[in-house]
Amino acid sequence: MAGGLDAACNESSFVGREVFGAEATDRVRTFHSALLPATLRNAFRTDFYQQLWHGIDLDGIEPDQLHVLPVVGKSAIRAAGDAARIRNGLICDEVFTSGTTGTPLVTVRGNREQAYIREFFTTLIDKDPPSRWRRGLQIRNPYHGHQVAIPAPVHFHSIGIYDAGSFAHGRAVLASRHLDAGVDEVCSLLIGLERCLRAFTADTAEHVPHGIDGHLDAVVSFSQYLTKRWRERMELVWRAPVIDRYSLAELFGGASSCLACGWWHADPFLIPEVVGARSGGQLREGVGILVLTALYPFQEAQPMVRYDSRDLVEVTHSRSCRPGEIAFKPLGRSRYGVPDPESDDWLLAPAVALEAVDELEDIARTPRFLDAAQVSDHYRIGHPRYRVTTAISEGRSVISFHVQARRRLRGAARRAFADNVGYRIVAAAPNLASALDSGVAGLRVVVDDHVNGDLLAHSE
């Protein structure tokens, strides 16, 4: 997109420019400080956290001192089962993670926390009642089991990926004026899972090549890493900026990409930290693993304190529009990246690999929504099939990038495809290029007949 949103939102224009204000940063800290003691007390009601925190003085821990507590991994939460939960006296619903890192984790949400969430957001609406509710179009989420309902002053029209004809109906909804009491006449929001928005966007691009002439203020994508190119496509087709929402099914709260600076700012309900993959130390700038604490009383039955998201992010405290406050950019599931064996740096971030190959015409793709009649081409919206593996040999990282071509390639065509993939990856990953130049890493691209692709979901 010439002169488009990304170019205008480049981070350098926001360095040192305080859009949000230091006072607001202090107010986020105040919110965290008010709820952290109860969050720790709630978690300490479980056998799991009592054992984990044995011998640690929990009194007086401030949000910026959470590093005195150990990071908690998904496998430990899974193994603990009900020992890591508070179910006594509560009615619990199950929430599933998506399983991008293996077997899905089943977490629980209690009726009390959900009632609190409803009351909390209702209170917010009552304090600032809008003169009219917004009107939105949402593509319903068929994943994750139980979903926590959050009251909002928005009337949503709902369509579904599996509801034949609902894409056409959705476009008609966006283009029309509607009459509902106290609701805007036109749709100003479009919300959906990244994969559903890809399907809806591709379908709309075919039917309305020059873009929708609607009234959208924003398109909100969530659940999966959104590539820059697909973001541009969505903005062209929907003629509205895209807000990418980061969230985890097992935590209440998330983070949203900022239209002012391009970084993701976390909801106050979460305390985010970023730690070095090798050192485990907290990072203020650089690339590391996102660790999250979900605050009580918004999360009660399944306490998550210093939960290892396994997501790789670039973190800053100085380059966003909120200097002094943590902000980050999701870079995909860390297990699909290549860490530098000698430092906290990364030779290849998962998102960089995806961005490098996702536009290749000859790459094979995993189809999506095969049984959805309104999706005309299930492959073009699918995830490219590649897998990254790394072995350490004599202190050298040997990276194998296995990739599957769309059709069977032989001889020179196969080599040219592999060379193109390798060139794109190295061009997109400066750390990897340096490591290759200095001989501390090696990269081989292998064109396989079948590859079970890495999934790049930055949330579950």
């Binding site: 607001a24 609190y116 209170t123 304090k127």
Partner: protein, 67 residues
């Protein structure tokens, strides 16, 4: 903190009114930061050139990757 007592009752926190006020302050409720940012982004988007050419490219991409 007594590690041996399981407490099914709610843990004391600031009142909902207090928490909602803290939340509104934390997210800058009432200021126009995000609204201004969204409006500016829409303006930038509207000013983007070659949208039609890009849309044609998109259709080309979709057809080229189709089965």
């Amino acid at each position: 903190m007594d590690a041996n007592v399981f407490q099914p009752t709610p843990i004391e926190v600031p009142t909902l009114a207090e928490i909602s006020d803290l939340y509104r302050a934390a997210v800058g409720a009432g200021d126009d930061h995000m609204r201004n940012a969204a409006e500016e982004a829409v303006r930038r988007l509207a000013a983007a050139e070659a949208a039609a050419a890009e849309a044609a490219t998109l259709v080309g991409f979709i057809r080229s990757t189709g089965r």
